[in-house]
Symmetry: C2
Subunit: 349 residues, 2 copies
DNA sequence: TCTCCGTACGCACACGTGTGCATACGGAGC
DNA sequence: GCTCCGTATGCACACGTGTGCGTACGGAGA
């Protein structure tokens, strides 16, 4: 049996409406009565029921967040950014992991609808269009966190991957690299393409070619994916001098595979990651990478949602909003000028 | 305006009670009526309100989980284990991060009480006693996930750290190490002590001493904590041949510091971690460690909570339940027999 | 035809909170 | 004394769902 405002009303000898108004700081209740009621409430340990309040006000004060996996460091940092905002703002956080599984997505969408969450932050690389439009149709405010501007979401917080890969490429070219390979992630189609685009543009800007065999899609974005890609690079007839990886986890695997193949990083191959996961500062050699502000992505998305909810407007009729964040290049030890072996540039003529 | 059972009732020409019963699969409603109502419900896209149901049944079908931080890989793996169980069981998951901050704890406790969660999984290294007993007092079922048996929680899922450090120590002794240092984490008092106890018992069992200077409490459990500890070990007059770290993150930092000090792992120093975080298989050299089944801890705790809630009993009157999980030693490359330099054993006499 | 009984459904209330409206009261102005 | 008005509070309903109890109906048995 939970304590309710009726219990307080009984003790204070007033009606429950008065208690409700007093606790909400509503005007029209005398100062003394208000104080007396607040005193009683705290004395008997009253805590309002978010459930009952939610039913009455049709606002749950809870947000739903859908991620790929919670135990992926990329998503968990975003989640932390979201949580910090929500806790401050007095919202609660429902977390659900879709695991790239459409049937799990369906369960999650159902759960979010049942819970009547005030808004949803979609933070998964793949989210079924049908589910998205279903949520929109039922009026749920949705903000997506992603990596690319060309998105189906009108409300979006994303990281400028293109800028990132441009910076990486510029830096590698500056070091003297002319042969740069790209190890993509076959499971992240549009994101991997965005990062490749930056590379291609910059190479093109200085009239350097990227032969087809320098672009390789690894089976996944994890270390073993990177290992496969690195082995592929080593075995090429004309291997590259630098390898740009889709993300840090792949770069970590690539470094391992290169070492096992007897190659030295960064002498034989420069390796660059993307994301800047915590481990990257502790690899051997420490990993040069492009920092993606993961925490910030979550933080800003939550902030955007909070402000929107305060505005009391309707997301479908309001015009969309996008926020682009930029990270920065972090130069560590896996990059160096190409060695003066025969395979540098096209000097072997 | 959400669709309610009353809307369905109007269309079907029955009372809302009939709809409620039909959708709940209650007996006493004819097969045809039930089918007809279910058809209408799915046609117009009806989704029951968990809020209203929760108010009526005083069961929220939601669990609260309190962690230290979401972006700590240790906790995020546990969370994933919990989520997988809850999604299957039809429960929703409220996540909150306390950040070791008592005032944040207070906010979280308040939020959990307001939400009327059905149960709480406390998964943080430090949780204020006052808050714990407050939650218990108000009848919330609580299960803790921890690292030690001597706990204030009667319901507990924990990992047998003592067994883990015993295994590590046995293995190091087997390799021939006689001088083993322990780098603890000053911020995890009881846990660090538990892991030290295993070391001490095994060393004692073979009559090997652990001088006081071989036990060092690092300022935190992160890589930089490990770096500080490793530097300390290197500078000792009589340095150890093996270093047992509180966890993998510290071991990673220790390896880096040792390398920077010109020491070779595992030739000059064997290094062992604890936890087996994903990255440990990709350090250089790859890290020998003791695997702590993090996902499993979350999974089992959630399962325990679920079963308890199904039983409809009261946690305060029911007798407690504890589940101990054991991981296993994972031998990789950071461990080897001690080198035959002068400082091996006490052969320098 | 009357009673009995099982089936199928509706009525009405409850859960805890918020809120529009009515109402009681006291003081000011005529 | 009467009206008017502002202040302080109560009444009653609503939010969406679940459920105990009552009831109408139809068939079987006497």
């Amino acid at each position: 049996m939970m304590i309710t405002i009726k219990d307080i009303a009984k003790i204070a000898g007033v009606s429950h409406s008065t208690v409700s108004r007093a606790l909400s700081g509503h005007s029209g209740i005398s100062k003394e009565t208000t104080d007396r009621i607040k005193k009683i409430a705290s004395d008997i340990g009253y805590v309002p029921s978010a459930v009952a309040r939610g039913l009455k006000t049709s606002r749950s004060n809870a947000l739903g967040v859908i991620v790929n996996r919670i135990d992926d460091p990329f998503f968990s940092e975003i989640l932390q950014g979201i949580e910090d905002v929500l806790q401050e703002a007095g919202y609660s956080l429902f977390v659900a992991a879709s695991n790239r599984d459409s049937s799990r997505e369906k369960i999650i969408v159902q759960a979010m609808r049942e819970r009547r969450v005030d808004g949803i932050i979609v933070c998964t690389t793949q989210f079924c269009d049908e589910h998205r439009s279903q949520l929109e149709h039922y009026g749920f405010p949705i903000i997506a966190i992603g990596n690319h501007e060309e998105s189906d979401y009108r409300w979006l917080v994303y990281h400028d991957d293109f800028y990132g890969s441009v910076q990486i490429t510029k830096y590698l070219i500056e070091l003297g690299h002319k042969k740069i390979a790209y190890l993509g992630n076959a499971r992240a189609e549009s994101t991997t393409q965005g990062r490749l685009n930056g590379l291609m543009q910059e190479m093109n800007a200085v009239s350097l070619p990227i032969p087809d065999e320098y672009i390789f899609q690894c089976p996944n974005g994890k270390p073993d994916g990177g290992e496969i890609g690195a082995k592929y690079c080593v075995d090429l007839v004309d291997p590259p001098t630098a390898i740009m990886c889709f993300n840090d986890m792949m770069a970590i695997g690539a470094i391992k595979a290169l070492r096992e193949a007897g190659k030295c990083v960064p002498i034989d191959f420069s390796v660059v990651g993307f994301d800047d996961v915590p481990f990257s500062a502790y690899t051997y050699p420490t990993l040069t990478t492009f920092e993606q502000p993961k925490y910030q992505l979550g933080y800003e998305a939550a902030q955007m949602m909070y402000k929107f909810l305060q505005s009391q407007s309707d997301m479908n009729s309001a015009k969309g909003q996008t926020l682009m964040l930029r990270g920065e290049l972090i130069v560590r030890e896996t990059t160096a000028p190409p060695s003066n072996k025969m395979n540098t540039g096209d000097s072997h003529l």
